[in-house]
Symmetry: C2
Subunit: 212 residues, 2 copies
DNA sequence: CAGGCATGTGAACACTGTAAACATAACCTC
DNA sequence: GAGGTTATGTTTACAGTGTTCACATGCCTG
């Protein structure tokens, strides 16, 4: 990757993380690089390709948070550490999380590049693998790992998006606790009876039923 | 509500549903209304206020799909009919669904208007009520209705968004079936043992475990 | 040294949201 | 009915957007 293209990409990431998608413009990017806007087009074929590379960087950052869980020694540890990494990433880098799951039209393209789409599927595949190995050691009930992983992923994704969009007003710590409890409750539905007991303890602790 | 403002809003909804947010411009809107762009500013104080009204229309359409479930006679029927309405709405009107949950910055504002934020909370509250009455009749285990509703809502929301963004490539029918199974499996974790049995039947039918 | 290539700039085009100045028609009061 | 006010539109204009074209510069190679 040529040096100048790399510099542009670095500035693009910085600009996006600062201003978000609506504030991201080729002219601002050019100014940050120290160059005029048309010069960018020598290195990038349009804004959408710059953004595509930003998305790729986002996935790379994501992997740094989640993949280290693979170093843990048991399936259950790998699962929970990965979940922790997932949440940490989403909360510490909301803009990166958002752009990973942005619709193509929002990035100015009709379809996502194939490799990015594959990265998205890779996220799914990762969770399928975590689920499958938990089934193999008898922590999760035997079932379709794809569906189970999908259910869990969708739950986490939905909670994070609703939180980011301010649908439940609470601070990060409170949300984190809610996220864990909610995840544990959902997981207990998939767990074998022996493991479900341990999970119960997680979310049954302050079982005050508030009136809303 | 003045007649002309109403016409503008109608055209705005039509334009948004056709082109999506990136294709939505005040000049196109003006042309559709049959007027020049600055004329719109006599009736709307800027693009963001037009979009805010479009969001309000989206919520109204949403309610038409979901609230008729309240006519059913038992909590469980109300719950499932509402869920069906929710999914139908999201699949038949993806653009309306998307704009309901769009972040404020995407609509060009720093914060959502209070009434729109309240509508979002209303969606949550509706599900809390459905969950609570299912607990009261002994279909769901006694627990915090807020948390339980949140878990279910986040799951549904996440699945729909991931589907809309093309993360699992399947047609609508296939997704609908997946959605129902996934929802039933999750729900069985919250169900009382007597009710969990019925749910098992829903998602256990074709329990082929495909290799992915 | 000459030529070619990589890389930049400036000007321009078609858009965007929005504001200011101006026009017109409806209506209300004297 | 005359005059003034108000509602509603248009024209023009400005700043900003993505992008393209024509041109300039400098470096590397033959």
């Amino acid at each position: 990757m040529p040096a100048q293209r790399e510099r542009i990409l670095a500035c693009a990431c910085e600009l996006y993380l600062e201003t978000g998608l609506p504030g991201f413009s080729m002219r601002k990017l050019a100014k940050n690089v120290g160059v005029t806007a048309p010069a960018l087009y020598r290195h990038y074929d349009g804004k959408e390709n710059v953004l595509a590379d930003v998305v790729r960087e986002a996935y790379q950052a994501y992997q740094g948070y989640v993949y280290r869980a693979l170093q843990a020694s048991t399936p259950i540890e790998r699962f929970f550490q990965a979940g922790e990494g997932y949440l940490d990433f989403a909360l510490e880098h909301p803009r990166w999380y958002k752009i990973m799951f942005s619709s193509p039209e929002r990035l100015g393209m009709k379809e996502l590049p194939d490799d990015i789409e594959a990265m998205g599927c890779g996220v799914h595949q990762f969770w399928i693998d975590r689920v499958r190995e938990c089934m193999q050691v008898g922590i999760l009930k035997e079932a379709d790992p794809l569906q189970t992983a999908l259910t869990m992923w969708a739950h986490a994704h939905g909670m994070i998006l609703l939180y980011h969009q301010g649908f439940f007003p609470m601070d990060r710590e409170e949300f984190q606790s809610l996220f864990e409890k909610s995840g544990a409750r959902m997981m207990s539905g998939f767990a074998t009876s022996s493991f479900a007991g341990q999970l119960e303890e997680l979310y049954m602790e302050d079982q005050t039923v508030p009136q809303v």
